[in-house]
């Protein structure tokens, strides 16, 4: 586990080598360099750091990996295009998720029919929307357990996707992006208590609809 002193020491060494030690700066400081100095290495550092969580967020918002990557790419492009208007008032990640959530919600609104709660989800096939088989057969599982797991996964996806957009975004940020109530609140521009009640309603709905699996 690197300590703050290690990080600082690495920073000094990197400075001496003529590189900028981005990991000793806050993400907001790195982003400010992108805007003020058009530092592309700083931008690439941020993309490298956040691309996996943003693609994952977009994938769970849209359930389609190709779309998720396109929307993630658009998110980072907007970050770049807005590099000079970024003000460090908000945490960088808050700003990034706000851009991402807007794009995802916009996309979801234009594709309402695909998100119909009653949509039939195939239980037997691999997730055709991703083009990959996520559910690698676990050798310790028998056929029945494997099918049950597929069914459970399909139900999870279906019911998360059926949540209203803002609830869905909140659940994804809370559950999978490791964000706390106050971070989610700033992304969604809600009070912390409104965020908690939004999440409570979302999890209540999921609990009710997924009860046969818990």
């Amino acid at each position: 586990m690197p300590t703050a002193i290690d990080t600082r020491a690495r920073g000094v060494a990197a400075m001496a080598a003529g590189q900028v030690p981005y990991d000793s700066l806050t993400d907001a400081e790195v982003m400010l360099r992108v805007g003020a100095q058009d530092d592309t290495a700083a931008y690439e550092y941020l993309v490298q750091k956040f691309h996996r969580p943003i693609i994952a967020f977009m994938y769970r918002m849209t359930r389609n990996q190709a779309t998720a990557e396109e929307l993630a790419q658009e998110t980072f492009l907007r970050v770049y295009r807005s590099r000079q208007s970024y003000a460090a008032e908000a945490k960088f990640s808050t700003w990034l998720y706000r851009i991402a959530t807007n794009l995802a919600v916009n996309y979801a609104r234009d594709h309402k029919t695909e998100a119909t709660p009653g949509k039939v989800v195939s239980l037997d096939e691999p997730d055709e929307e991703t083009g990959t088989t996520l559910d690698v057969a676990d050798p310790t599982m028998n056929v029945e357990q494997h099918l049950l797991r597929q069914e459970r996964l399909a139900a999870i996806k279906k019911h998360v996707l059926a949540l209203p957009e803002k609830q869905r975004a909140a659940v994804l940020m809370h559950k999978y992006q490791g964000m706390n109530y106050s971070e989610i609140a700033s992304v969604l521009k809600l009070s912390e208590s409104a965020t908690k009640s939004l999440l409570f309603r979302a999890y209540e709905a999921l609990r009710e609809r997924l009860k046969e699996f818990v």
């Binding site: 592309t40 790419q73 295009r81 919600v105 083009g131 459970r152 609830q167 706390n180 979302a202």
Partner: protein, 157 residues
């Protein structure tokens, strides 16, 4: 006297193991309904762990970097009124082009990436559609719009 309703309103704190008031904790210990609810929420949340995501495409980073380089070569789209004074070379270019082209510059900056007739209904077309709305802050307002929307309520199946 704390009611089940008060406790339900505080279950998200209890889930996050944030400072949950002693009254709520005491209620949870003796009320079967509320503790079953908390337990159900916990189990629902851990059920969601099963949903994993695919690996990103190996070309994702390359594509994003290429797009950024392309964007960098163009004039800065989001320069504020004073921003270009920090960037003397671009400022000079910008001023020259402005003098020569006037409004044309503005149009070209905003339209460079959108093909003339994007197909509607595809993800790419949607993104291009969004692109036309060049200012990211315009779209940020969607979140404001969502804040009081009826979609806050759980849609019943």
């Amino acid at each position: 006297m704390i009611t089940c309703k008060n406790v339900r309103e505080n279950l998200m704190d209890a889930l996050a193991e944030e400072q949950t008031s002693p009254e709520v904790l005491a209620h949870l210990r003796q009320c079967g309904t509320c503790s079953a609810e908390l337990d159900g929420l916990r189990k629902t949340m851990s059920l969601l762990d099963e949903w994993e995501v695919p690996e990103p495409s190996p070309y994702f980073l390359t594509r994003v970097k290429a797009h950024a380089r392309e964007a960098q070569q163009k004039a800065p789209v989001h320069a504020g009124p004073l921003a270009w004074f920090r960037r003397p070379v671009l400022a000079a270019t910008f001023a020259a082009v402005l003098a020569a082209g006037g409004v044309v510059l503005r149009l070209s900056v905003f339209q460079t990436e959108a093909p003339a007739t994007p197909q509607t209904g595809t993800a790419v077309a949607d993104i291009e559609q969004l692109d036309k709305n060049a200012d990211v802050l315009v779209n940020t307002d969607l979140i404001d719009e969502l804040s009081g929307a009826p979609s806050d309520d759980v849609a019943e199946p």
